[in-house]
């Protein structure tokens, strides 16, 4: 069946070998992730400063978040990371069908994550727990709105990364179905995988820092 024939990969003209091409892509991805790390890092610095300033306010604020949803989403993201590595592994051992199903699963988990986030956001909007100008809720600390400024910026940017990741996953799926990934070539899979795990990584910190302040 033509569907199952692996398409050979051609090394771009300016590279000497496939190894050079792969390593370049991977280094490029890591350097890009380093950039992402500082991008989010700055937000964590801001978080740290305001938490240092208003510890009581942070404790109050986190009660307005649902740790159950946060925990659920953490599990979902971890699962999606797992399916992502399994997808890459399937390509490495030339298993086309599992590759496609793992990619689909990853996409599904990403969707679930965003769905839960949507429910959480709607609830916050409903209660008026929003950044400064839109904040309209009651509270004990007069700095409460700051927490939600930080919360929405951090989770919003993280959500945006998930959204971009979903776009990339769809692109991978199309290429996987066309048979472009196999043991000899799976660079794009590996790169998106790195990105995806990084997004997971950010959430691993966001979850305890936003939902579990004790």
């Amino acid at each position: 069946m033509s569907m199952l024939v692996n398409k050979p990969h051609h090394v771009a003209h300016h590279f000497a070998s496939e190894a050079q091409e792969f390593e370049s892509a991977r280094l490029g991805m890591w350097v890009f992730l380093v950039q992402e790390l500082l991008f989010f890092g700055a937000l964590f610095v801001a978080y740290g400063i305001f938490r240092w300033w208003h510890p009581q306010m942070f404790i109050e604020a986190h009660h307005y978040l649902s740790w159950k949803m946060g925990a659920f989403n953490t599990v979902v993201l971890i699962a999606s990371s797992f399916t992502m590595v399994m997808a890459i592994r399937s390509a490495q051992v030339n298993e086309r069908k599992p590759l496609i199903s793992y990619l689909l699963l990853t996409l599904l988990f990403a969707g679930v994550f965003l769905g839960v986030k949507y429910i959480e956001y709607m609830e916050k909007i409903h209660h008026g727990l929003l950044p400064g100008h839109f904040f309209s809720a009651q509270g004990v600390s007069e700095y409460l709105h700051l927490f939600f400024g930080i919360y929405f910026t951090m989770t919003g940017l993280h959500g945006l990364h998930i959204l971009v990741g979903m776009g990339l996953l769809v692109w991978l799926l199309v290429r996987a179905i066309r048979g472009e990934f196999h043991s000899e070539f799976y660079t794009p899979l590996e790169m998106v995988g790195l990105y995806w795990h990084f997004v997971d990584l950010v959430w691993i910190f966001l979850f305890p820092l936003l939902y579990l302040i004790g």
Binding site: A19, V31, G48, R89, D200, P208
Partner: protein, 127 residues
């Protein structure tokens, strides 16, 4: 294409490893939620961060493959963490050590807070 270069960078990790990491991550997630029930005072943050860091290391080393990836990638990533740390450190040399002479620490003079204030005991309308 089957040169040694090629082989060294394409490690195929056994499924067992991935599953083990997956399970470990789930357990650690449970652990964070669990320890959050207890009050360790100012250690709360530390405990939460330590668990998060263990989880992060698992993801970075196994899922992202830095354990087998001995190239410059690994150095780049860890070196960057140092820069992030510097950023934290130097901002924290400023803010907690500022002197607000004559005024109580971080007391604001003209705060236009949108929060509708209630007394600590009262339950807010939401939740």
């Amino acid at each position: 294409m089957k040169n040694d270069n090629h082989a060294s960078h394409h490690v195929i990790v056994p499924v067992k490893t991935y599953v083990a990491v997956f399970v470990a991550l789930l357990i650690l997630t449970f652990l964070t939620v669990f320890v959050a029930q207890f009050d360790f005072g100012s250690f709360n943050l530390l405990v939460a961060l330590i668990v998060a860091m263990v989880k992060a290391s698992l993801v970075v080393m196994i899922f992202m493959g830095l354990k087998w990836n001995k190239s410059f990638d690994r150095f780049a990533f860890f070196a960057c963490l140092i820069f992030l740390f510097i950023f934290f450190l130097l901002v924290f040399v400023d803010i907690p050590l500022r002197s607000y002479r004559g005024v109580e620490e971080s007391q604001h003079i003209n705060l236009k807070s949108p929060v509708k204030l209630i007394a600590p005991g009262e339950a807010p309308v939401h939740h």
